[in-house]
């Protein structure tokens, strides 16, 4: 094994870190230093107000501040908002801004910028449910914004955090140009702890410390460099060789196991509760035989989720039973998993009127998968084919050469079954409802492309969306999850095993529910790199 300075430092830091949680502060925060993050995600631009996703979210949350941020236990924390207060009727939220916050060009951040930002998000962001009930934002003074709602909207606080709601400058983006294609999206004037120094599309983003950031002494780092690396093997080797300091959103089991053995690195699986990525098998419920719940249940009983996790994912992923990520406070732990039971699967298929033919085949189906992520998608699809053959279902695995081909098939409903992975995005209103509401059956990817319609589910989700009482809301979602688990429009397989690998000398690695998609103003080096 090669012996480098890095390993020596890493060994010392690892000893220091013994007994502490990943990301916990290990010493008095130190100013200075650079952080090199590697990512496969190439952002189109850097403005999360008009663009969702990790690629824009990670740099976007460094460049733009939001009103709130969240800790690791789902609690809102002050950020640009120093305080907030709900009206008793739940129909308005008053937010008070910090007094000293300025944009990167020195202009003060005011309530007018808040109102402009939320309007921009309402008009341009794909997550239309985030601010749908927001009818108006009043700005009685420069540092107060009052959100007026048409109905109670308990998801609002979460929608005001992280990459979901960047506060963008009205004096830059309000110049009459279309914000979705505004030139400043690639050269933003931000409000966050780091300002853009250089953006080389598809290659590298360099961010520098913003000296006038409104939190005294922050950020600790001088610079964050986000390097786009397309090949996961290269990323692993770059981390191993010490060329990069942090590898977030990493889910490739072989690389995970390899990097876990590198003594100079630490890792955490925390920080991905908010995004809640679920790997699943979706059924097209519009046509036979998958319009029959017994057939869908039979398939669920025939697939061994534990085998997928243990063998295909080398034990790096965790099981997922329902539509809400198991790390969410809304998850219903009462859901019974579909444990492998081939006899029951066969009985259900017989009952549904699909007897086996002379060759043992009952019927044929196709299965699609998202290309480019073999471990979570293609390998699982291949396994499902072999497994379903055991209960008399012949499955044809249809490869798509690229994402648009797959997305086109699924959006147009031209599929029987498809592998997919979809994000929860914190609150069910934002990332869960879209998959199950019958009003969201549309020819657009990541809507209700299963064609699943259940009036009871529609009613529960409508009620839960505006139920301010947390216990009642949790109960509604528990009921919803049970119905989905019973009716199986989707068979849930596993939570995507996102890992953050990082240099062991790095402290306060982001482990809030939004993880790396939240400002890294608290991250620091415990010693010179």
């Amino acid at each position: 094994m090669r012996l480098t300075r890095r390993i020596l430092f890493g060994a010392v830091a690892s000893v220091m870190a013994l007994g502490t949680m990943a990301g916990a502060p290990q010493a008095e925060p130190r100013q200075g230093g650079e952080l090199v993050i590697i990512s496969t995600q190439a952002p189109r631009h850097l403005n999360p107000a008009v663009q969702s996703g990790i690629a824009t979210g990670v740099p976007g949350t460094q460049i733009f501040a939001s009103l709130l941020r969240y800790d690791g236990d789902w609690n809102p924390q002050p950020y640009l908002a120093e305080s907030w207060e709900w009206a008793d009727d739940g129909l308005s939220l008053t937010v008070r801004l910090v007094q000293n916050a300025v944009f990167h060009d020195g202009a003060p951040i005011t309530s007018s910028d808040v109102a402009f930002s939320i309007r921009t998000i309402q008009e341009n962001h794909p997550f239309q449910t985030m601010f749908a009930p927001v009818e108006d934002i009043e700005t009685p003074d420069e540092h107060t914004a009052i959100f007026r709602l048409s109905q109670p909207h308990p998801a609002l606080l979460l929608a005001l955090s992280s990459a979901l709601s960047p506060i963008i400058p009205e004096h830059v983006y309000g110049d009459g140009q279309d914000v979705a294609n505004h030139p400043a999206n690639s050269a933003p004037v931000g409000s966050g702890p780091f300002r853009l120094a250089e953006f080389r599309p598809g290659e590298q983003i360099t961010l520098e410390r913003f000296d006038d950031f409104f939190i005294d002494g922050r950020p600790y780092l001088d610079r964050i460099i986000i390097r786009i690396v397309r090949d996961p093997s290269t990323m692993v080797l770059a981390m191993e060789a010490g060329e990069a300091d942090m590898l977030p959103y990493f889910a490739e089991s072989q690389g995970i196991r390899r990097l876990q053995g590198v003594s100079a690195l630490d890792y955490t699986t925390r920080g991905y509760e908010g995004i809640g990525a679920i790997n699943w098998l979706a059924f097209n419920t519009r046509s036979a035989p998958l319009d029959d719940v017994r057939v869908r249940q039979a398939i669920a009983f025939a697939v061994d989720r534990d085998f997928i996790i243990r063998a295909l994912h080398r034990g790096t992923s965790t099981p997922q039973r329902g539509p809400i990520i198991e790390s969410s406070p809304f998850f219903n732990p009462e859901i019974e998993p579909y444990d492998l039971d081939l006899d029951r699967a066969n009985a259900l298929l017989d009952e549904a009127g699909h007897p086996a033919g002379a060759d043992g085949t009952r019927f044929s189906l196709t299965i699609d998968f998202i290309p480019g992520n073999a471990e979570q998608q293609q390998n699982v699809a291949e396994y499902i084919r072999s497994q379903l053959r055991r209960v008399g279902i012949a499955v044809d695995v249809r490869a798509a050469p690229d994402f648009p081909t797959w997305a086109g098939r699924v959006a147009q409903g031209e599929f029987d079954m498809t592998m997919d992975f979809v994000f929860n995005w914190g609150d069910p209103v934002i990332g869960v409802h879209r998959t199950y509401l019958s009003t969201n059956i549309r020819p657009v990817i990541w809507s209700n492309t299963q064609g699943y319609a259940n009036d009871q589910v529609d009613a529960i989700l409508a009620e839960a969306a505006q139920e301010p009482d947390i216990e009642r809301r949790t109960a509604l979602y528990a009921e919803f999850q049970q119905i989905i688990a019973d009716e199986v429009p989707i068979y849930f397989l596993n939570a995507v095993p996102y890992y953050t690998f990082h240099d062991a000398r790095l402290a306060n690695v982001p482990v809030s529910i939004w993880g790396p998609m939240q400002a890294m103003d608290e991250v620091y080096w415990t010693e010179d790199r």
Binding site: R2, T4, E34, V36, A42, R44, H45, Q51, S52, G53, A55, N124, P126, F127, Q128, A180, N181, N185, S186, R200, P201, G202, E203, Q204, I225, R227, I228, V229, R230, D231, S233, T234, L237, A238, E240, A241, E243, A244, G372, P401, D402, F403, P404, T405, W406, A407, G408, R409, A411, F423, W425, R434, R442, P443, V444, I445, W446, S447
Partner: protein
Amino acid sequence: MGTTRYILRRLVYGLVLMVGVVVLNFILIHAAPGDPAEVIAGEMGGATEEMLAQIRARYGLDQPLPVQLWIYLSSIARFDLGMSYYFDRPVAELIGQRIWPTVLLVLTAQLIAIVLGVVMGVLASRRPNGPFSGFVSVFSTVGYAAPVFWTGLMLIILFSVIVPLFPVEGMTSARFRGTGLAYALNVAHHLVLPAFTLAIIFLAQYARLSRASMIEVLGADYVRTARAKGLGEGAVTFRHALRNAVLPILTVAGIQFGNLISGALLVETVFNWPGMGRLAFDSVLRRDYPTLLGVLFCASGVVVLANLLTDLSYRLADPRIRTGGR
């Protein structure tokens, strides 16, 4: 035929070829299922139908295909490569940032392949049945047969991880911000592994070719005459034999240039080299038609130019071609 007239004629042919490449690729990529708006929607985590319609309208994707082709060709005629659907930036700007890394990589690899390949071939030809000749044959076959992805990763593991001599990825270190000589040295340091990886495939061909060519030439009468005149072995090999043996190598070098560029695509992906190959690869996946077509247009231009230069160097190396064989 006069050299100037010859060059002009070749350039016109080249231009026609480039337009042909663009039209053919335009039709091919539009025949593939899925559209750029889906990619942008995917990147956004979903979109409404209205958003998809807006994206399609903005980039003219709602127009009939012949109209789109006509618009594209007329903008090409004005030297406008259009806007990238994905990055919403001028394609010329994206290509401008990446063309020189690719040219640097390809030319360096070509140089390494030719020089090392010819030296190995020449040395092997002096004892065609000797152990070195055998080594060259084995090395050539393995180098040619090994997938470039595998070769690249093996070199990284060997020379970046186990023996940390060279960086794993990129054209400069992420932290590097120097200029001038320091920048050149940083780039050169990063260039070694990708250039060798790319060169190994072609090195094999040049080694085999120059070995065979030299064996044939070394048996020719004029070489025997040179030896009979008492010339040293070095002078015979390099001054008399090699000059004649090098002609087929030049021909192959020209033909291989296109293959080098396509090989660069994989090398750029493995080594995260910020070149046109990676841009083209990503653009295919993103259905970013203007960027892909722009890259293909420029790449075909480079290949046309390389072939022209090969022909010209051929005329310089062999006076018989220049004079039409008289």
